[in-house]
């Protein structure tokens, strides 16, 4: 055994098995035996043992909870960076599988404009946000749709009169937002963290899909319509003590929730409503870049500034159906050329380009 020829304290200190014995007591009997057989090494070993005990061992600088919170913050900063800096190559997990369309039709948005406090359910719902992180509340009192970017890469187009609240950082297990009024949701895919949308009466859970909700405060019914994938809908608070009913909807199905009776009607098949953004398939075949940009402008209610002269003769074929706006913009910019970048300032997209390939 090489150990028998040790001549310095350091050799013992650097011996992983020796250190393991001192720190954890592993193989105690074996070491006692070895020391008895090698009496001439006892002094060195004892000295090394004292030294190891005096140096101590690594103490964790953070608890598991603190670590997870830091992880959460790091993801958030990564997203910020990715959106601000440049069109990075698209990461797989960032790709979007779910696009959710939420609606509160009718007079609902008039009501929310009145700022009547009793209607402000959006902020009074329990939230599983991280302790210490405050919710962000947004009220679109303008006449144009307003684009909201969430930290997880999801985007929301909040229609005029719509109110939205969401945590600055989502909780580790789920992403929860509260809506009153009308909004179009594009949810980034993350199976570990379901995306939940609370409206007054029901909660809608995204399992990778696109769907639409009509949930006006002063309409008798709430309607949920699924375009693709699967959606779970349930009551927030069942009036009687029965467990909340969970309705599973598949593509082209819709269900109505009758508020006065506190129950769901039977799901039925339905045709795709002729709403602009649902109607658009964002499939472009050899289309001028300008056409693609103006399609995105009208669909999302944003303005896109781009160098018209430089991009005049650029044509693209691309399919952007299931991507959120930011992903669509990234794909378009990357497809034009590596010298094409974009950034967002509120509802305003600024594209800079040195031309196409």
């Amino acid at each position: 055994m090489q150990r028998e020829s040790y001549t310095t304290v350091t050799q013992f200190c650097d011996d992983a098995l020796f250190r393991d014995w001192v720190i954890t007591g592993r193989d105690h009997a074996g070491w006692v035996q070895w020391l008895e057989a090698n009496a001439d090494k006892q002094r060195l070993a004892q000295e090394a043992r004292y030294l190891i005990l005096a140096i101590g061992s690594e103490a964790p600088g953070a608890t598991a909870g603190e670590t997870d919170q830091a992880l959460e913050e790091t993801w958030w900063r990564i997203h910020e960076q990715e959106h601000r800096v440049r069109p990075l190559a698209l990461a797989g997990w960032w790709r979007v599988a779910a696009a959710a369309l939420l609606f509160a039709l009718g007079l609902g948005w008039y009501a929310s404009r009145l700022h009547s406090p009793g209607r402000d359910v959006a902020v009074s719902q329990p939230s599983a946000a991280l302790p210490g992180s405050r919710d962000i509340g947004i009220f679109n009192d303008s006449k144009v749709p307003r684009l909201v970017n969430l930290e997880d890469g999801s985007t929301i187009i909040l229609q005029p009169g719509g109110k939205l609240s969401y945590p600055r950082k989502f909780a580790a297990q789920k992403r929860e937002v509260h809506l009153s009024g009308e909004a179009f949701f594009e949810v980034s895919k993350n199976r570990q963290r379901p995306f939940l949308v609370y409206t007054n009466d029901i909660v809608t859970e995204v399992v990778g899909t696109s769907f639409r909700i009509k949930a006006a405060d002063d309409q008798p019914e709430v309607e949920v319509f699924v375009k693709t994938g699967e959606v779970h809908v349930r009551q927030i608070q069942p009036k009687d003590s029965k467990a909340a009913e969970n309705v599973v909807l598949l593509p082209n199905q819709s269900v109505s929730y009758v508020k006065s009776l506190s129950l769901f009607e039977k799901p039925e098949n339905k045709d795709i409503p002729k709403r602009a953004i649902e109607y658009l398939n964002f499939d472009f075949s050899d289309a001028p870049v300008g056409t693609i940009f103006s399609t995105l402008e009208s669909a999302y209610g944003v303005t896109i500034d781009y160098p018209h002269d430089v991009l005049r003769d650029c044509y693209l074929s691309t399919s952007l159906s299931d991507e959120p706006l930011l992903s669509k913009l990234k794909i378009v910019c990357e497809s034009i050329s590596s010298g094409t970048q974009f950034r967002m300032e509120g509802n305003h997209v600024i594209v800079e380009s040195t031309g196409c390939n």
């Binding site: 350091t10 020391l35 030294l51 005096a54 061992s57 690594e58 964790p60 830091a70 990564i78 960076q81």
Partner: protein, 197 residues
């Protein structure tokens, strides 16, 4: 799916393939150690946390271009150290002031009390510990990196931006100094050894 039993190099490869779970595993594995190290380099604990996060951010943002390091632990520790040094340097320039001792290794060793069962050992270890904590900062840092972070001499040298011989010297000089001051009492103890083991 990745789990915490995978070796670092494999986790790193998964991260290069956009594996979020592998990134989470790596983060959970090293964040506490890195934060501990960061805090021993600056009293601004917020700054330490920031620099650890930035080190991890860089991994994700540049994952496609990053080579798999020989030692992920050494790579991360070096990243945190470099960032903190840079930030402190910048602060110094902007504030036209100098925080004495900032950026210098301030970690204090704590004895492993739970593995000590008798008073004699406790007394010896306590004395050694006091001597350890009086060593110059760079010697303490080298010992910390060697025995708390399990880096080898070459890794310590790269991290502290010195040559391997100097790193080795830092370690040995520290231990040698302690033994010179302390060794007097060892002779009487040698005979009693087996009792304590």
């Amino acid at each position: 799916m990745s789990d915490s039993t995978l070796p670092d190099s494999q986790l790193w490869c998964l991260i290069k393939d956009d594996d979020q779970a592998a990134y989470t595993t790596l983060f959970r594995k090293y964040y506490p150690a890195l934060l501990g190290y960061g805090k021993s380099l600056t009293d601004h604990h917020g700054l330490a946390g920031d620099c650890v996060q930035e080190t991890f951010m860089e991994i994700w943002l540049y994952r496609r271009n990053l080579a798999v390091p020989d030692s992920v632990r050494a790579y991360l520790l070096a990243g945190v150290r470099r960032r903190i040094a840079r930030r402190l340097e910048r602060d110094r320039i902007f504030r036209h002031s100098r925080d004495i001792g900032e950026g210098e290794f301030s970690f204090q060793f704590t004895p492993l009390d739970e593995m000590i069962s008798d008073e004699e050992t406790r007394r010896q270890v306590q004395q050694l510990n006091t001597l350890l904590n009086q060593l110059p900062a760079r010697q303490r840092e080298a010992l910390y990196l060697r025995y708390h972070q399990q880096l080898d001499i070459d890794e310590i040298a790269r991290l502290m931006q010195i040559n391997p011989q100097s790193a080795s010297n830092l370690l040995h000089r520290g231990i040698k100094h302690i033994r010179e001051v302390w060794v007097g009492e060892m002779h009487t103890l040698a005979l009693l050894l087996c009792v304590y083991f």
